[in-house]
Symmetry: C2
Subunit: 230 residues, 2 copies
């Protein structure tokens, strides 16, 4: 069978961009300016061009909405149900991206083609979503939690230098449960993936905390959390 003998599905990339702002897990959504779902919120995404790989397409979408380029990016799953797009047969490859607190501040959100608005939404206050994006987002959240428990992705949310309390905080937010401070520190330090800079965080009105850097590879499997705490 040669290519193009038969009608072919179209292919899009949708990207789930997570960040931690104001101590909440947030996701970037765009307001659609075209049918279908005009005026509704959706995950950023678009058609894959013939001359770009899937990952390049995901990076392009990320860049178009946020202006940033270097982030943790990982393929999530490919959704290929028959009825997911009213325009016709569209298969979408989901990616998820994690934005560090450093980058978050640099970002200028900007509407792009077919998009009238771009906003961060707390995962606890999501609007109604277009297509099957609610399903995709739920899946992404599940994967994110899993990645936190078993790998080092957490560090992609942090700046280069961070305190152990900051690290614990993002774990508590993403896993949505409290962790025991002593056990958390013991476990993290025992993994041998952190190095202390001998600096301390300045200008805090309490005992200044030690700053650490991450020396492992982001996304590496390490089984960080068993239960730890309440």
């Amino acid at each position: 069978m040669a290519l193009k003998d038969y009608p072919q599905p179209s292919v899009t990339v949708d990207i789930i961009i997570f960040s931690l702002k104001e101590k909440k897990l947030q996701v970037l959504l765009v307001k659609r300016d075209k049918e279908p779902f005009k005026g509704k919120w959706a995950l950023p995404g678009g058609f894959v061009r013939i001359d770009e790989s899937l990952e390049e397409a995901a990076k392009r979408e990320l860049h178009e909405e946020t202006g940033i380029k270097e982030v943790y990016l990982e393929q999530l799953y490919t959704f290929g149900g028959l009825k997911r797009d009213p325009r016709g047969r569209v298969i979408t490859v989901g990616y998820f991206a994690l934005i560090s607190s450093e980058d978050i501040e640099k970002i200028k959100l900007r509407a792009s083609a077919d998009v009238s608005d771009v906003r961060w939404f707390s995962m606890q206050k999501l609007p109604e979503l277009s297509f099957d994006h609610d399903k995709i987002l739920a899946y992404a959240l599940k994967r994110l939690k899993w990645k936190f428990e078993y790998t080092t992705v957490a560090f992609s949310f942090l700046p280069k230098k961070f305190t152990l309390t900051q690290l614990q905080e993002i774990y508590e937010i993403v896993l949505n449960k409290e962790l025991d401070k002593r056990n958390f520190r013991k476990k993290i330090l025992s993994l041998g993936i952190l190095k202390t800079t001998k600096e301390k965080k300045k200008d805090v009105s309490h005992r200044p905390p030690e700053l650490y850097t991450f020396t492992g590879r982001i996304g590496e499997i390490v089984e960080i959390i068993s239960k730890i705490g309440s």
Copy 2:
């Protein structure tokens, strides 16, 4: 942007069909009867039709090559590099399937359209593969091992009734390491996912082993193996 305004990538499904035959992990490959890679071995697969979901496409391919329908099937990853198919831009969604030893015997391998031969290959003696199928297969193997350690997929290789030694054997084959018999049994039985049928395997020239059935859900996460054994 309306659909079809721009040249679109094509979409295929490739399926990695694993089984355990002759105490070896094997994979089903087909010999291509058309260019590109005519005469070379490849993973079974083909274009996704406009009126079938990705999973349906994978099941169809599976059925065409083996005649069977009900198996453990899971989406693996989507490969979308620019140069992976010399015919043009083709994105492929990989699936992996696990065939039980019961089904293995029923299977009549049959060549289908564009395929001149179909055969099981031991993972230790693979032929040269077409496209980027070596990469896809390597990824599938990694995922399979992971799934064995953390989930109950192993049971999809077994018949309904099986002995603990059979179960241990498939773990040893897939993980490629020896396990301690007593610890393995203790761990597996402690999970509460097996029930003894009170039957024993007959006509063996040694003490007849007890037959068990699996009562959990295939693929469920249970952290089966920590290390267990040598």
